[in-house]
C-alpha cells in the first residue's frame, strides 16, 4: 500500500536533520584532507577527498542544499582533473583545490539553532493518526469510515481511560471528542482536560457538541479545546477544520532569491537560509535580476542596499514595475549609514531594511515572515472561496504553463474535467446549501487523493478541472476510478438530509503541437461523451 506525500516529507525531514547534524564532521574531514599550503599531497589523500566531495555533492543535492552541492561538485571536478593527468598536481591546481575545499566548508557552516529551526515542530507525532472518543459505537463506526475516506487514520475509543493509554503510546495529530449525546458536554470537556494536563504542546482537540450555546462554548474555550463544532454538521465542515488543525506545520519550503554585492556574503546568507529549510538561489548580477526571477520564481527577494551597478532600492522599484512581481516582498540588507541616508532622502518610506550584520535567527525570521505573507496573499486571490480550489483563471494559467512545459520536455500531461451528475436536480430538491456541501466534499476528496503537484481548479458551477503533470491518461483513468468509488460511498448533507451522488469524468492528454485551449476543449468534449454513458462514467479521449 503506497503512503502519503506527508508521510514521505516527514521521513525525509528526519533524514535531512541527520545530514545537517553530521555535516560539520564531514566538512572538517574535508578540511583535513585538502592539499597543504606547502609540501606534497599524497595520491590516496586526493582519492579520499574526491570521494568525500562526491558524497557531499550527492547528499546535499538530494536534501535540497543546492549551493553546498554545487561547491562540492566543483571540488570533485578539480580533483578529478588533477588525478586524470600523469604528472602530479601542479602548485596552481593544488591552490585551486584548497580554495574549493575552503569554499565548501564555509558554505556548510551551520549552527545548532538552524537545525532546530529546520526540525518539525512535533517530532514523533504521526501526521494522519486521529483518535476519536465516542461512547456510542454505532455513531463512531460511521464517523471513522468517513474520516478514512479523507485520508486520516482514525481509531475509536469508548472511554477516556482507553484514549489516554493510546495517547501515551502514540500521539495523534488531532483528538476528536463526541460530546453530542450529552445535554451539556461536561464529560467530554473533562476528558480534554485530562488529556492535555501537563502536555506541552497540547494535542489539538475538536469537540462535537450536541448543543450550541454560550455556556458550552465558554467551557470549551476554558478547557483549551481548539474547535467547537455543533453536531451534526456537514462532514466537509468537520474535515476542513481537521485539516486546518492537522496541517498547521505543513509548508513547502520558502523560495528566496538573494542578490548581494559580495558573492561570498550572498552564499553565506544562502547557506544560512537553506539550513532553516528554505530554498535559495543567488542571482549572478543585478542587471540580470529579471532572468533570475523567471528561472527561480521566489516568495521573496533579499538584496543588498548597495550594489555595484545601482542601488538596491532602484532595482527593487524596477522589479515592482512588472505586474508578476508587483507584490514581491523585498528585504534590503544595509549598513546603519545606508539606512540613515535612505531615510534622509525620503526614498525609503515603503521599503524594508535590516541593518547589517544581521543575527542569523533574526534574518531567518524576517525572511520567513515576508515569504509567508506573500504566500497567504497569493493563495487568497487564486482560490475559489467555496471550495478552496484554484479559480477558473488560475487553473487556466497553470494549464497554459504545464502544456508548454510538457511539450518542451516531451513529458506526459493529462487534463481531466469532471462534473457532478444531475447536480441541478440535487440543488432543486435539497437546496443550494446541500449542493455546496457536495461540491466542497468532492473538492476535499480530490485534494486528499491527488498529488501535491496536481493542480485542481473550479471551472464554475459543478465543473472541476484537474491537471496531472507526468501522468499518462491510463494512469489518470485508474486514479479517477478509485476516487469515483470513494465518492460514491460517501453521504453528504447536514441535519435531516443524507444524499449520495456521483460524478462523470472526461480525460484528455497533451500531445506535440496541441495548445492549452485545444487540450481543454478535448477534455470537455470527452466529458460530454462520458455523460451519455450514464452516471459515474469515465472516458478517455481516443488518441
Amino acid at each position: 500500500m503506497a503512503g502519503t506525500v506527508e508521510d514521505l516529507q516527514r521521513r525525509l525531514a528526519v533524514l535531512r536533520d541527520q545530514f545537517v547534524q553530521e555535516l560539520p564532521q564531514r566538512l572538517s574531514r574535508i578540511g583535513a584532507l585538502k592539499p597543504p599550503a606547502v609540501g606534497a599531497w599524497a595520491d590516496d589523500t586526493a582519492a579520499d577527498l574526491r570521494l568525500l566531495a562526491h558524497s557531499v555533492k550527492g547528499s546535499a543535492g538530494t536534501f535540497g542544499f543546492t549551493e553546498l552541492s554545487a561547491r562540492a561538485a566543483r571540488l570533485e571536478r578539480l580533483i578529478a582533473q588533477a588525478m586524470a593527468q600523469i604528472a602530479i598536481a601542479s602548485g596552481e591546481q593544488k591552490h585551486a583545490i584548497r580554495e574549493a575545499a575552503d569554499a565548501l566548508t564555509q558554505a556548510g557552516t551551520i549552527d545548532a539553532s538552524a537545525v532546530q529551526a529546520a526540525a518539525p515542530r512535533r517530532p514523533g507525532r504521526a501526521t494522519k493518526t486521529l483518535y476519536l472518543l465516542d461512547e456510542d459505537p454505532d455513531r463512531s463506526i460511521g464517523l471513522i469510515e468517513q474520516l478514512r475516506q479523507y485520508g486520516y487514520q482514525p481509531e475509536g475509543f469508548a472511554t477516556a481511560e482507553a484514549l489516554l493509554i493510546a495517547v501515551a503510546e502514540l500521539e495523534p495529530v488531532v483528538v476528536l471528542i463526541d460530546g453530542s449525546a450529552e445535554e451539556t458536554p461536561e464529560r467530554a470537556i473533562a476528558a480534554v482536560i485530562a488529556l492535555n494536563a501537563d502536555r506541552d504542546p497540547p494535542i489539538p482537540t475538536v469537540l462535537l457538541a450536541g448543543r450550541d450555546d454560550l455556556g458550552a462554548r465558554l467551557a470549551a474555550v476554558r478547557a483549551g479545546i481548539d474547535i467547537f463544532l455543533p453536531w451534526p454538521a456537514e462532514s466537509s465542515e468537520l474535515i476542513s477544520q481537521l485539516d486546518h488543525l492537522a496541517t498547521l506545520d505543513d509548508h513547502a519550503p520558502y523560495r528566496v532569491l538573494i542578490l548581494g554585492a559580495e558573492p561570498i556574503e550572498a552564499n553565506r546568507t544562502a547557506a544560512l537560509l537553506e539550513s532553516a529549510g528554505m530554498q535559495t538561489r543567488v542571482a549572478p548580477a543585478s542587471l540580470r535580476i529579471l532572468e533570475a526571477l523567471a528561472e527561480f520564481p521566489p516568495d521573496m527577494l533579499l538584496m543588498d542596499a548597495a550594489l555595484p551597478d545601482c542601488t538596491g532600492t532602484e532595482l527593487g522599484a524596477v522589479v515592482h514595475q512588472f505586474p508578476t512581481w508587483s507584490d514581491l516582498p523585498i528585504l534590503y540588507l544595509a549598513s546603519a549609514a545606508e539606512v540613515e541616508r535612505q531615510l534622509a532622502s525620503g526614498a525609503a518610506g515603503a521599503d524594508d531594511f535590516l541593518v547589517k550584520p544581521v543575527p542569523a535567527n533574526r534574518l531567518r525570521a524576517a525572511v520567513a515572515a515576508r515569504a509567508e505573507r506573500r504566500r497567504s496573499f497569493r493563495a487568497l486571490i487564486a482560490q475559489d472561496p467555496l471550495t478552496g480550489l484554484l479559480t477558473h483563471r488560475a487553473i487556466d494559467r497553470r494549464i497554459v504553463a504545464e502544456v508548454a512545459r510538457a511539450d518542451r520536455m516531451d513529458r506526459p500531461l493529462t487534463l481531466a474535467i469532471l462534473d457532478i451528475d444531475r447536480f441541478r436536480a440535487l440543488n432543486q430538491r435539497h437546496g443550494y446549501p446541500v449542493g455546496d456541501g457536495v461540491l466542497r466534499s468532492l473538492a476535499l476528496l480530490l485534494r486528499r487523493r491527488l498529488r501535491r503537484s496536481d493542480q485542481i481548479g473550479r471551472f464554475g458551477g459543478d465543473r472541476i478541472a484537474i491537471l496531472l503533470p507526468e501522468t499518462a491518461p491510463e494512469l489518470a483513468e485508474e486514479l479517477f476510478d478509485r476516487i469515483r468509488i470513494a465518492f460514491a460511498g460517501m453521504t453528504h448533507g447536514g441535519a435531516g438530509v443524507a444524499v449520495s451522488t456521483s460524478f462523470s469524468t472526461g480525460i484528455a492528454a497533451s500531445r506535440a503541437g496541441r495548445t492549452a485551449g485545444e487540450l481543454t476543449r478535448a477534455a470537455e468534449l470527452t466529458l460530454l461523451e462520458a455523460k451519455q454513458g450514464g452516471d459515474g462514467a469515465i472516458r478517455v479521449e481516443e488518441s
Partner: protein, 135 residues
C-alpha cells in the same frame, strides 16, 4: 491497466551513499508501495540479488571499488538475473555517458539528485514502457 503489465514489486537499489540510499528506499516504499532491498556496494548486490529476486534493479554509476558498469556486467553473468532490467542513476548525466550506459544494455538512465516525490512514479513509468506502454 494492471492486467496489461506484469506488476512491479521488488526493487533492488544499489548505492554506496547511505543518505541517498535511505532517501531512495523510503521514497520508493512510501510513494510507490514497492518492496525495496538496498545494497551498499556492487559486491553486496551480487551476493544478495539472487536471493531477493528483484523485478527491477536500480544501480548507482559511481561507487568505490566496483562501479555501476562493472556491477552491471557481473549481474548479467548470473543466469537467474540476466533478464532483470537495470536502470542506472548518475550524477553526470551527460549525453555521451548516458549513451554509453544505454549501449551497455541499461533500460534507462536517471539523473541524480532525483526528486524523492516523483522518483517512484518515474520508475513505474519506465517499467510500464518496458512492457510496451507508449504513454
Amino acid at each position: 491497466m494492471s492486467e496489461r503489465f506484469p506488476p512491479l514489486d521488488r526493487i533492488l537499489y544499489v548505492d554506496d551513499e547511505p543518505d541517498i540510499r535511505e532517501v531512495a528506499k523510503i521514497a520508493l516504499e512510501v510513494m510507490g508501495g514497492f518492496t525495496v532491498h538496498a545494497c551498499e556496494s556492487g559486491e553486496m548486490a551480487l551476493a544478495e540479488a539472487p536471493g531477493f529476486k528483484p523485478d527491477l534493479i536500480l544501480l548507482d554509476v559511481m561507487m568505490p571499488r566496483m562501479d555501476g558498469p562493472e556491477t552491471f556486467a557481473a549481474l548479467r553473468q548470473i543466469e537467474a538475473l540476466n533478464a532483470v532490467p537495470i536502470v542506472f542513476f548518475t550524477a553526470k548525466a551527460q549525453r555521451a555517458e548516458v549513451q554509453a550506459l544505454l549501449e551497455l544494455g541499461a533500460l534507462d538512465v536517471l539523473a541524480k539528485p532525483f526528486d524523492p516525490m516523483t522518483v517512484a512514479q518515474t520508475v513505474s513509468e519506465i517499467w510500464m514502457r518496458h512492457h510496451g506502454w507508449d504513454g
